[in-house]
Symmetry: C2
C-alpha cells in the first residue's frame, strides 16, 4: 500500500498509532489525537495530477471513488480496502450561489455549501463514513468490535445509526434517562440502533462513555464514535477540498463555519492546510468561527487576546456554562476540539464572532426568503457574515463561502415558531398566511392587491 496514515498526538507527544488501533486519546498526555498522512508519499503525485485524479473520480460510478469523501481516499483514510468502505455517496453537495441574498447584503460572490443535502441531512455523514468504514475494516481483520456507540441526541447519532445499519454493524446510542422521545430520536430508532436510556443524569452518562473508552482496562468490545475521534475529521476536511474543487481549484477569500465542539472548523482548516502543504493552493482562506452568544467560550477567548493585542492561545480560554440556544447542536461550553481550533484559526488568520438568538433566527429567515432552507446553526454563520460585511471586514468583491451544516427539515419547529412569532424576540422576516375570498373573480383581484402590497 503506497499511502499511509496514523494517529499522532496534537500536542506533539512522540509516537505513531495505527488507524486500526482502538485509541481515542494520546497515551502520554491524554490529549487529542489527529490523523497524520505520509506526505512524502502524497508528494509523488504533483498538485496538478491530484486535481486531475480528484476531478476524474468526482461523483462518478467507480466504487468507492464517486463519493465526495472517498474520491480523496489517499488523503482521507488510505488503509481500507474498497470492499470495506461504507459509503452513502456523501459529499458532492451543492455550492449554491446566493445571488439574491448576497445582493441584499452588498456582496456579489457569496456561496452556501449545502452540506445538509445528504443522506441523513447533516455534514456528519462526511466523517461517519470514514469512522464506520474503518470499523468495518478492523472487524474484517479480526478485531473484536461488537458495536459502535455514541452519546448524542442529534446529528451524530443519526449519521452513526444510518452508516451502521448500511454496514450491518450494531449501533448503540447512549442517553440519560428522560431524554428520549421517538420524535427526537426518530433517525437512530428507524435505523435500528439500540437506543439506551441510562438510569442517571448526563454526567453519569459520560462516566459510562469514559469507561467504554478506557482502553487501559481492557477492550470493552464497543467502539466509541465520540467527537474526540479524529477519523471523523478526515472526512469532514473534504469540505475544503470540495469547495476549492467546485470553484475549479480557486480558493475563496473567506469561509464561515458555525462552531460548538469545534471539530468542523478544525477539520476545514486541516483540509486547507494540507492542500497548501501539498501545493494544490497557495494560501488558505480566512476562517470565521461563528458561535451562538449563548455558547461562546471561543469568542470570549478571541476577544481577550484581541484586547491584549496578541494572537489567541489556549491560555485565553475559559469554559463557560452554555445556555439554551436555538442553535442546539452548538450549545457547548467546553469544546472538545479546542486545541485544534485555536491552531486552525491562528494558521488561517481566522476570526471568531458571535450571534444572538434574534440575530441567528432573523439571518436564517432572511436567507430562506431567497430560496434557502437553513438550519439555526447556519443562521449563526449568516448573522456573523452580516456583521463582517457591515464592518467592512468582508468587502463587496470578496468571494465568501458559508458552510451550511444541516438541512432545515430537521428544524421545522424552529421555523414554525419563528413565523408564528413565538420565539420571544421580533421575527423581522416572519411570513403570515392570509385569508382571502372564495369567489373566483374577486379572488384574482385580491391576489393582485397582495402582490401590489409586497411590491412584486
Amino acid at each position: 500500500m503506497p499511502y499511509r496514515a496514523w494517529f499522532s498526538c496534537v500536542a506533539g507527544c512522540p509516537g505513531e498509532h495505527p488507524l486500526s488501533q482502538v485509541i481515542y486519546r494520546c497515551p502520554s498526555c491524554a490529549g487529542l489525537l489527529e490523523v497524520v498522512h505520509d506526505e512524502a508519499a502524497l508528494r509523488r503525485r504533483s498538485p496538478a495530477a491530484w486535481m486531475r485524479v480528484f476531478d476524474e473520480r468526482f461523483l462518478r460510478t467507480s466504487w468507492p471513488y464517486g463519493s465526495g469523501v472517498w474520491g480523496k481516499k489517499e488523503w482521507v483514510q488510505p488503509m481500507i480496502s474498497a470492499d470495506n468502505v461504507v459509503s452513502l455517496f456523501e459529499g458532492g453537495s451543492n455550492l449554491f450561489w446566493a445571488e439574491r441574498y448576497g445582493a441584499q447584503l452588498g456582496v456579489s460572490d457569496l456561496w452556501i455549501k449545502q452540506c445538509g443535502t445528504s443522506h441523513t441531512g447533516s455534514f456528519k455523514d462526511l466523517g461517519m463514513t470514514v469512522l464506520v468504514s474503518t470499523v468495518k475494516q478492523m472487524r474484517a481483520d479480526g478485531a473484536p468490535i461488537r458495536a459502535v456507540a455514541c452519546a448524542s441526541t442529534g446529528d451524530t447519532s443519526a449519521a452513526l445509526a444510518a452508516y451502521g445499519a448500511a454496514a450491518g454493524i450494531p449501533v448503540i446510542v447512549l442517553l440519560p434517562a428522560n431524554k428520549i422521545t421517538a420524535a427526537q430520536l426518530v433517525q437512530p430508532i428507524a435505523n435500528g440502533a439500540i437506543v439506551c436510556s441510562l438510569d442517571t443524569d448526563f454526567d453519569g452518562c459520560m462516566k459510562v462513555v469514559q469507561r467504554l473508552t478506557d482502553t487501559d482496562r481492557g477492550d470493552s468490545g464497543i467502539y466509541l464514535a465520540n467527537s474526540m475521534n479524529s477519523l471523523r475529521v478526515e472526512g469532514q476536511k473534504t469540505i475544503s477540498l470540495e469547495i476549492v474543487q467546485q470553484f475549479d481549484w480557486e480558493v475563496p477569500d473567506w469561509v464561515l463555519v458555525p462552531g460548538g465542539n469545534l471539530g468542523n472548523v478544525s477539520a476545514i482548516a486541516k483540509g486547507f492546510m494540507e492542500m497548501k502543504r501539498l501545493g494544490l493552493i497557495s494560501t488558505p482562506p480566512r476562517l470565521v468561527c461563528c458561535q451562538a452568544e449563548h455558547a461562546n467560550p471561543l469568542f470570549l477567548a478571541y476577544e481577550r487576546a484581541r484586547a491584549a493585542g496578541r494572537e489567541m492561545t489556549l491560555d485565553d480560554f475559559e469554559a463557560v456554562r452554555a445556555r439554551p440556544t436555538l442553535a442546539s447542536a452548538i450549545q457547548i461550553g467546553d469544546p472538545v476540539s479546542l486545541p485544534k481550533a485555536v491552531k486552525a484559526l491562528v494558521d488561517t488568520g481566522g476570526i471568531v464572532l458571535q450571534a444572538s438568538e434574534a440575530q441567528l433566527a432573523n439571518a436564517s429567515a432572511r436567507a430562506d426568503r431567497t430560496g434557502l432552507f437553513t438550519c439555526p446553526h447556519t443562521g449563526v454563520a449568516l448573522a456573523c457574515l452580516e456583521q463582517l460585511i457591515e464592518r467592512g471586514t468582508i468587502g463587496a468583491e470578496d468571494r465568501v463561502v458559508v458552510v451550511s451544516t444541516a438541512h432545515g427539515l430537521k428544524f421545522t419547529e424552529f421555523k414554525a415558531g419563528y413565523h408564528e412569532r413565538r420565539l420571544g424576540f421580533e421575527s423581522e422576516y416572519a411570513n403570515t398566511p392570509v385569508s382571502i375570498t372564495g369567489d373566483p373573480e374577486q379572488a384574482i383581484g385580491e391576489l393582485h392587491r397582495l402582490l401590489d402590497q409586497r411590491g412584486d
Copy 2:
C-alpha cells in the same frame, strides 16, 4: 437555436403550441398536453455522442449543465438561455445499492434512487426547475406574468416556493380555509410565498384555480404550476436518463414508482421511451406503478383488464373516493395524468400493484433498518417489490430500481407513530428504546446482553 420543443395534445389533436405560451390544456379537446421534441434535430448527434455529452457535464461546474436536469437541456427544455435557468443543482442523487435489504428479500441487484436527497427534499425539484426557468424566460421576453401559483399542501408547494424565491419570482400557494398550519407549510412560508387560505372548501379552491387557468377569458397574470403542467414532466423524466447513466448506460430490468396523480410514472416512461427512440437504449425496463390500497383506481383498472385477459385501456378506469392513507401525497382517486400513465404502462409491459397501510409501513421500516430513511410513498413501492419477489415475477438475478420520492425527514411523525406502535396495525419492525443501569461497570455488561439478544 438548433433544438426545438413544443406542446402537443396527448390525444392527438393537431397543433403545436410554443412552450412560452400560457396554455395548460389542449384548446380542441381540453385534454392533457405533452412536450414533444424535434427528434430529427436530436438525431444529428449519435447515441454515443449524447452519452458522452451527458457524462462530461454530469455534476460538473459549467453552468447550468452541472445540474442533473440541465445537463440534458436539449432533451428537456432547449428554448431557454442559460441566464434564465433557475437551478438548485437538482438531480445527481444517490443510486443506493440496497445490499442488505436486497439480501433479506432474496435479490442481489436492488437499487434505490434517492430523489428525496435534494434541495427541498423531494423529486418535485426536478420538474419545478424546468417550470420556473421557463417562467423566468417568459418574463424576460416580456410576458406579463406577475406570479406563479399552485394549490398544494405538500412537496409541490415546497419546491415551487424555493425555486420562486431563488429566482425572485413571487409564488402564491392557494388552500382551502382551515387547512393551513405553519408546521405543515413551513417550507413555502419560510421561502416567502404568499400563502392564501381561501374562504371556501377544496372544491371552491379548485374553482379559483380553474379561473386562473381559463386562458380564454384573458390572461390573469398568474401562471399555474399545477400537475397538468407538462413542463414538469420534462424535468422528472431525467430520473430515467440518470438511472441508466449511473449504471454506465445499462438498463435495469424493473423500475418501481409510487403512483397517485401518475405524473411521475408517466415522466419516467417518457424518459425511457425517448432514450429508446433515439437509440441510447434498446428496451425500456418494465415499470411497476405502486398504489396505496386506500387510493387505488389504477390498480382496479389494471385488475379489470387482467381479468378480461387484455391490455388495460382508459375504458377500464373508474375514479374512486380515496381514503386517508399514510402515503398522503398519493391519496388521489381521480389522477390527472391517467391517460399518460396508461400509455406508459402499456408501452413498457408495466404492472400495477397496491399495498395496504400495514404493508407500506412495515416495508418502509424494514428498509430503514438497513440504512435507508424512507418516506411512506417509497414504502408503498417497497411493499409492492416484496410482493413481486414473493410471486417470482421479479427474479433473484434481476436488476431492480425503486424510485424513492421524498426524504424521510418530511415524515418524522409517521415514523415516530410506527415505532411507538400508534398506527392501528402491528409494527413488525418497531424499535423501542430500552432502559439500563447508570453504573459504568454493569452498563457494559447490559449492553453486551442486549447485543446477544439481537443476535448481533
